[in-house]
């Protein structure tokens, strides 16, 4: 059996798959923020009601947690010290010396995780080519240790210049601490991110050291508790990019699991899209109460970035957060959610956000004291969501409160025009951000299928798809446990990288092969074989035109370096990748390799099939019809839409728009001219058509 478990802010979700029977079980328990493992144990308790021994039978337990990101955002990690090359202790705080908003004279940066008085310098120097210019003076370490002791600091980051080229001094410091202070946790930048550019490496290593004791303690407690329940399978943690890693790697490199929940959500979105036999180029769209998240998946693989920031002071402003350069899903986060409050700007225009009513007081229609007009209020006034059927009817929405908020809105327009304006502008904000995000990555939006989830995702998907020219929307079933499910669809992966500078025209294939072999050995050591999985190794290298800032990651195979006649094919491999990304080549510019990357993966031997919906034997889709209501579409005004109960739909059912499909966690909406088909795996697939 395989268990996926995702800890979110409110709920801890479980998906249990029995590979023998193909059965799937979902469970949800409240999250226990102080000791997150208690929530897990509560869930295991629920799941074991039918089968007391089930924990013993779990072969693979994949877990996702917000522990790391919360510790960084809330600054609840452990006091951390930084050791750097003499003369460079302020690199961490200088960042890239650029203001993220050129017109804002009042701007601030998030304070560094390590204040200046805890940043220590050690005499040593390595050159860019890895040669040692100045030996490490170990004699300075006892005084630093004494200071750490006096301040009770037990986790340190070591970031020395050019350690990606030669880590000898970083390793000496680690060994020295192992001998003299084995209780101090030491994170080396050459382990965490062996890559050029000192600020990114320092910021990432410091973030690692800062959260490491907390993650270690948590995973130890979890392992202990599982052990007591006779768990004898393997514990894996979801990574921030795709794939999962062993718990031991997560303990030493916790930055890698920073976005594990959202990454698993996107993995699930890609998986559902494939299950539906659709395009493998998708736009995963998750919208909740405070933010929306978008991520492009190309060729079945989610885009990954190394330029990630945590806790931006301003959502849309690159440079306003803490930089963490681990591979993270290339996620676009937008400050638009159901709780975003509308206002009139000083130019007399309608704006949505950035302030949000959040969950408390929440939108006016929640009746908890919120009075600002929010996106959710407008969704209610426009008929997108129902006052009586919100969260399966467990929470009644107050339509009058929403109307009052709209009436009080300081714009001389009819209530319905205000509401539709708010809805449309919220959609435009998300669509504009998505367009720019895709343009920066050279992706045309039109060719993507959208997979929508999250409480407000399927409510707004249709409007955004229309704006982006997207003609297919998928709303998967079990959207409430997307992330927990995604954890079980992901491969177990370890990746290693090393800088490797060489022109393709002048490359040593022996050295290339040897470096790849070294990385492969490293990766394999971290990924012991496992019964239910088979191992797969993938090679890739970053290439670029000499002088151009962007590098392109190109997949390679051993044939590329196994014989000397292979030289032209390296260039060709790069050119193919470059052309598909930028649409052009530069014939007369030299090409160089920047770094080499190896990913070792364990692929599940068995893939599970989601539950199949039965085909309708008798009756019609109207059996799931629950009524109709008026719903407003921008440019069309109010039209009458049929309302359906998702739990009554069966495989092959077809619904013509305008229509609404309600389920416990969300509401799916689409307009006239569009058509919804129910897939046998339970997904709703909307073909977005032109309005009549």
């Amino acid at each position: 059996m395989r268990l996926g478990c995702d800890i979110g802010g409110t709920f801890t979700d479980f998906v249990l798959i029995d590979d023998r029977s193909g059965s799937l079980r979902l469970e949800k328990v409240p999250t226990t923020p102080a000791d997150p493992e208690l929530g897990i144990l509560n869930g295991l308790g629920l799941l074991s009601q039918d089968n007391p021994d089930f924990v013993k039978e779990i072969g693979v337990f994949v877990h996702g947690t917000t522990l790391v990101i919360n510790a960084l955002i809330e600054r609840k990690g452990h006091p951390t010290a930084l050791l750097t090359t003499r003369g460079f202790r302020d690199i961490l705080e200088m960042r890239n010396e650029l203001r993220y908003d050129i017109y804002d004279l009042q701007l601030e940066f998030p304070p560094p995780l390590v204040p200046r008085h805890l940043r220590f310098e050690v005499p040593e120097r390595v050159a860019a080519d890895g040669s040692v210019l100045e030996d490490l003076e170990e004699a300075t370490l006892p005084a630093i240790l004494a200071l750490l002791r006096s301040k009770d600091i037990r986790t340190i980051a070591v970031v020395l210049l050019h350690s990606y080229a030669n880590a000898v001094h970083e390793k000496s410091i680690r060994d020295w601490f192992a001998r003299h202070a084995p209780d101090v946790s030491v994170s080396l930048s050459s382990d965490v991110l062996p890559r050029m550019r000192e600020f990114g490496r320092a910021s990432t290593t410091v973030a690692t050291a800062y959260v490491r004791p907390k993650v270690e303690a948590y995973l130890n407690r979890l392992q202990q508790a599982l052990c007591e329940r006779k768990f004898c399978g393997a514990l894996y943690i979801m990574q921030s990019a795709t794939g999962v890693i062993g718990a031991e790697i997560a303990k030493s490199q916790p930055a890698r699991i920073i976005e594990s929940g959202p990454a698993a959500g996107v993995a699930a979105a890609a998986w559902w899209s494939a299950q539906c036999g659709l395009e493998n180029n998708i736009l995963a769209f998750d919208m909740g109460g405070t933010t929306a998240k978008l991520c492009a998946v190309v060729g079945g693989k989610a885009l990954v970035t190394d330029e990630y920031e945590v806790g931006r002071l301003c959502h849309s402003k690159k440079g306003s957060g803490l930089q963490v350069n681990v591979p993270v899903l290339d996620l676009l986060e937008i400050g638009t959610g159901g709780g975003s409050i509308a206002h009139v700007s000083k130019l007399g225009l309608l704006k949505v956000g950035p302030s949000s009513a959040g969950a408390l007081p929440g939108p006016a229609c929640y009746g908890r004291g919120g009075s600002g007009l929010t996106v959710t209020d407008c969704d209610l006034l426009l008929g997108y969501i129902s006052a009586d059927n919100f969260l399966g009817g467990s929470m009644r929405l107050d339509r009058h409160a929403a109307e009052r908020a709209a009436n009080a809105f300081p714009l001389n327009m009819a209530v319905e025009d205000i509401a539709s304006g708010v809805h449309d502008i919220a959609n435009e904000d998300m669509a504009s951000a998505a367009r720019l995000h895709l343009a920066e990555r050279g992706l045309p939006g039109e060719n993507l299928a959208m997979v929508a989830f999250g409480g407000a995702g399927p409510v707004h998907a249709y409007g955004i798809a229309t704006k982006l020219g997207i003609n297919q929307i998928v709303v998967p079933p079990a959207a409430g446990v997307m992330s927990a499910l995604g954890m079980l669809t992901a491969n177990i992966a370890v990746d290693r990288e090393l800088p490797f500078k060489a022109l393709t025209s002048d490359i040593s294939f022996e050295l290339l092969g040897a470096t790849f072999a070294h990385l492969e050995k490293d990766a394999a050591a971290l990924l012991p074989p496992h019964g239910e999985y088979r191992r797969k190794v993938k090679f890739a290298a970053n290439f670029r035109y000499v002088g151009q800032g962007f590098s392109v990651l190109v997949a390679l195979t051993p044939e590329h370096w196994s014989d000397k006649t292979a030289a032209p094919s390296l260039r060709k491999a790069f050119e193919e990748a470059y052309r598909s990304k930028f649409g052009r080549l530069y014939e007369d510019v030299a090409i160089e390799i920047v770094d080499l990357r190896v990913t070792a993966e364990l692929v599940p031997e068995r893939t599970f099939q989601p539950l199949r919906l039965a085909k309708r034997e008798a009756g019609s889709v109207l059996d799931a019809w629950t009524g109709e209501r008026r719903i407003h579409f921008a440019g069309l005004g109010f039209v009458t839409a049929s309302v359906f109960d998702r739990y009554g739909l069966m495989a092959g059912d077809v619904i013509q728009g305008a229509a609404i499909v309600e389920e416990r966690e969300t509401t799916t909406v689409f307009g006239p001219g569009s058509m919804l088909t129910v897939h046998e795996n339970g997904s709703l697939i909307i073909a977005v058509g032109d309005r009549p």
Binding site: P115, D129, M413
Partner: protein, 557 residues
């Protein structure tokens, strides 16, 4: 005929307009070659309506291009080359007086056609890697020495490249591959913007952009005028004197009179010194840019840039003055003067709105060095190193430490510079004690020590030509509202000998260079600084114990 758009439609279409220029920039950055685009963000894309009025300018672009583009596009439109435009035509120029103030910025623009008529213009300006001429010198005597000058020409005619122009550029610049690559990236960028404009018009059902541009411009203009009306009606003046400017035995004066009349404002630079016989001259377009930048920062930082933001601002600078230099004045190093404009204006309007201003910044003007040389194996290198001082303190917070202001330039990491040149840094660190004290202190400055490697793997051929600039020429980094000035001037020490910033030096292996750039000025009386802030600064060694005792009257308890 005239369509009236409601506040929702305006918001949506306007947002798309701004997104269109930002998407154009995304294309530019993606396909460009030079780190000037990638790291220095020295570019802008913009959309104009059929009358040449600015509707949107890219969000992430350098302040120096803020006030330039509206005038650039008008210069294009007045030119005989622009009288008969066809679809696919692309105009080009880098004339400092027609465009953005120095030759190294190349501007391209194209008309956007819908059916047979022009509905918009799109434009892109980029600071290139090279335009020929002297390398980064303060001492060029006229613009001819500074490189190739392209009048307004058609770079493409009906989509067909004018190969003659490409050849001329190719043979007159260093690193021609990068220059041509970046130039083509500019054309790709404006093509993207043009497509997006047409899509936006389809979406909004607009036959012309007029109804939208009216809304955008008038709403912005009204907001700007309103912000101006909220100021007291006042006429105030300020001036500063620079001493020791190369080639000048007299002080150079920059003077401004700021006069708010109704909903508009006049910035009159009468009283400013004559243009200079070297490269420090500023053309009027650049002076306008930093005027616009300052007023936008102070009055309406979050409103996107367009003609409406700019029209209430009138700028007057005497012809042949250093802030309105006339042909053929050299202007390569104009940022040494133009970066001082925001500070000068703030000094003049300081009494009107001290709460919105910042104290003077040690980071101003941008201090940086070019290091160019050759290896014996035939390879060359060209490294740019920025040295960033601190920013002035604000009314409710300390100034930012080591940051570019008012320019907007990311640093190039030490590890990148060292791997691409023979330079080795001994330190790059905060220079504590360089900031002006105050209730809120200025951001601290920076100290950088670097040397030429003695035993590098690649042997140098000859020496490295280094050119470092960034002096304030004696102008103090003043404080505001009782805050104190930063104590020091930017200094450069070459092999233990102080040198004048702006001097070119030749460096050989073993030579060292030490640069110290001051912090920002303080805000408010130092005695009002909170005890916690003083203690934090002491703990972080950002101030000395003596300073704590004497300036902040702090006694350890």
């Amino acid at each position: 005929m005239s369509v009236k758009l409601d506040p929702v439609q305006v918001e949506i279409l306007w947002k798309r307009m701004v997104a269109a220029v930002d998407e154009a920039v995304a294309t530019l950055v993606r396909v460009s070659f030079s780190s000037v685009i990638r790291d220095f963000h020295d570019y802008a894309c913009a959309i104009f309506d059929a009358d040449g009025r600015l509707l949107a300018q890219s969000t992430q672009s350098t302040p120096g291009l803020l006030g330039v583009l509206p005038f650039t596009v008008l210069n294009f439109l007045r030119h005989p080359q622009a009288q008969k435009l066809n679809p696919g035509d692309v105009l080009i120029t880098n004339d400092p007086w027609l465009a953005s103030g120095h030759l190294i910025d190349i501007t391209v623009a194209m008309p956007v056609f819908r059916a047979d008529s022009i509905v918009a213009y799109v434009l892109c300006t980029v600071h290139h890697v090279s335009i020929g001429g002297h390398v980064g010198s303060l001492y060029s005597r006229d613009v001819y020495e500074e490189g190739l000058r392209l009048p307004i020409l058609k770079l493409y005619e009906a989509g067909v490249p004018n190969e003659a122009i490409f050849s001329i550029i190719c043979d007159n610049v260093r690193e021609a591959d990068k220059v041509i690559g970046d130039l083509k990236a500019q054309v790709s960028a404006i093509s993207v913007a043009a497509t997006k404009v047409l899509k936006l018009m389809d979406y909004g059902g607009l036959a012309t952009l007029a109804p939208l541009s009216e809304e955008i411009i008038h709403r912005t203009e009204n907001a700007m005028s309103e912000a101006l009306r909220a100021l007291p009606e006042i006429r105030s003046t300020a001036s500063v004197s620079l001493n020791g400017v190369p080639g000048c035995d007299k002080p150079v004066t920059l003077a401004v009179t700021v006069e708010r009349r109704g909903g508009s404002i006049l910035l009159d630079f009468t009283g400013t010194s004559e243009q200079l016989p070297n490269a420090l001259n500023v053309v009027l377009n650049m002076t306008r840019s930093y005027c616009m930048f300052t007023l936008k920062c102070v009055l309406l930082p979050d409103v996107p840039s367009n003609a409406g933001l700019l029209s209430p601002i009138n700028v007057l600078a005497p012809e042949r003055s250093v802030l309105n230099a006339q042909f053929p004045a050299a202007n390569w190093a104009r940022s040494l003067i133009s970066h001082l404009i925001p500070e000068l204006i703030m000094k003049a309007i300081g009494d009107l709105m001290p709460e919105k201003l910042i104290a003077s910044s040690g980071a101003t003007p941008l201090c940086y060095g070019n290091f160019a040389g050759q290896y014996e194996d035939g390879g060359t290198f060209f490294a740019i190193v920025t040295f960033n001082g601190g920013m002035g303190a604000r009314r409710t917070r300390d100034g930012l430490n080591s940051i570019t202001y008012p320019g907007s330039v990311a640093n190039i990491p030490v590890e990148v510079i060292e791997s691409e040149s023979p330079l080795v840094f001994s330190c790059k660190e905060f220079a504590p004690h360089t900031a002006g004290p105050g209730r809120y202190r200025g951001g601290v400055g920076q100290k950088v020590v670097l040397r030429v490697a003695e035993n590098g793997r690649r042997r140098l051929k000859g020496s490295i030509r280094a050119s470092i600039r960034g002096s304030r020429y004696g102008l103090p980094v003043y404080g505001l509202a009782g805050g104190l000035a930063a104590g020091i001037e930017a200094t450069a020490v070459f092999n233990n000998e102080p040198i004048v910033l702006g001097t070119n030096i030749d460096m050989v292996p073993g030579d060292t260079l030490e640069i110290l750039v001051p912090g920002g000025g303080g805000y408010g009386p130092p005695l009002e600084r909170s005890r916690e802030d003083v203690e934090r600064d002491l703990r972080d060694a950002m101030i000395t114990v003596e300073a704590a005792e004497t300036i902040y009257d702090y006694r350890r308890t």
